[in-house]
């Protein structure tokens, strides 16, 4: 199954429309999309507006590959569950987020094994042609850098002890 997700915040019709057209033209029946509330409704692919946290994880785990927006929830869940990932960042100028941060995130994380980035619809269509060859992402540990957690721990206990 190819699991498509736009996250829980706002719809991302540009992504869903592109996927829906691609799935129709290639007779792909193995696509399931989470599209967000008040979103454009796909004509061809099966979809759900929202998924609870448990169902979201279950879909990412079961998916052969995840195609999503470049949100940290999508990226971290795919990496934690070792599922290949293709992301298209939302754009601030198109009102898809308040700023262009997803483009920055995507550019920074593009170098990670198993994470692929399509900056626009044309690139997405090109990358979808090879989606069945997507390689597993690297798996990441379930914890943050030790330097980060120890700094915060130290901050918490600093005054308590003095």
């Amino acid at each position: 199954m190819i699991f498509v997700t736009v996250g829980s915040d706002t719809p991302f019709d540009r992504l869903i429309k592109t996927i829906d057209r691609w799935a129709f033209e290639n007779s792909r029946r193995d696509v399931f999309a989470q599209i967000g509330r008040n979103a454009w409704k796909p004509q061809f692919v099966a979809y759900s507006e929202m998924l609870g946290p448990h169902d979201f994880k279950r879909h990412v785990n079961a998916a052969r590959v995840v195609v999503g927006h470049a949100g940290m929830g999508t990226i971290l869940t795919a990496l934690q569950l070792n599922t290949p990932l293709l992301v298209m960042p939302r754009r601030g100028a198109m009102g898809e987020t308040r700023n262009n941060h997803q483009v920055d995130t995507a550019r920074e994380l593009e170098c990670i094994k198993g994470v692929d980035v399509a900056l626009d619809e044309r690139s997405l269509i090109e990358k979808l042609q090879f989606i069945d060859d997507a390689k597993n992402s690297v798996s990441i540990s379930s914890h943050a850098d030790e330097s980060l957690t120890s700094s915060i721990r130290e901050f918490i206990h600093r005054h308590k002890q003095s």
Partner: protein
């Protein structure tokens, strides 16, 4: 029982709070920071309670910049939670509920940590820039965003450069 009470008196009361999705996952990834604390986790969906079976959990109303009404509701919910819990330390990964927690935290004398989301590789988030005025410790997850008076860099929720 008595031992337990004594232990709780010396364990800092911590509120770990965020909105859902990526913010929440990032908060879970720094859980080791709360070892030895009496921690309450707060976020916007009851479905996340299963992630923290060993800690206490509170649900707060979500708020985002698209809707003023949702922001007011979220601010009120966070304010009530702070009055009830009286945390000594507040740690947040954003976004709007975390901002309210850091801002109101000042009034109840809590010390506060803002960890800006890893999503903000190009500059601190808008809520992060506002929170910087109130937070005692403001952290970014990107070394290139470090400033003299903050935000500081101490590491990230995962090490992306090791995965290339």
């Amino acid at each position: 029982m008595l031992m337990k009470e004594i232990e709780n008196e010396t364990r800092p009361r911590v509120l770990a709070i965020s909105s859902g999705g990526g913010h929440w996952i990032q908060l879970l990834r720094i859980r080791a920071a709360f070892d030895g604390c009496e921690v309450t986790y707060a976020t916007v969906d009851d479905g996340y309670a299963a992630d923290v079976e060993n800690g206490s959990f509170a649900r707060i109303p979500n708020g985002n910049l698209w809707s003023v009404w949702s922001l007011l509701r979220s601010a009120f919910g966070v304010g009530c939670l702070l009055v009830k819990l009286r945390p000594e330390v507040i740690v947040t990964t954003g976004a709007a509920p975390g901002y309210f927690a850091v801002m109101f935290g000042k009034f109840i004398g809590a010390r506060t940590v803002w960890l800006d989301s890893m999503a903000n590789a190009g500059g601190l988030s808008s809520s992060g820039r506002k929170a910087m005025r109130f937070a005692d410790l403001c952290l970014t997850q990107w070394r290139h965003l470090t400033g003299d008076n903050g935000p500081h860099f101490r590491g990230a929720v995962f090490n992306s450069s090791a995965l290339t």
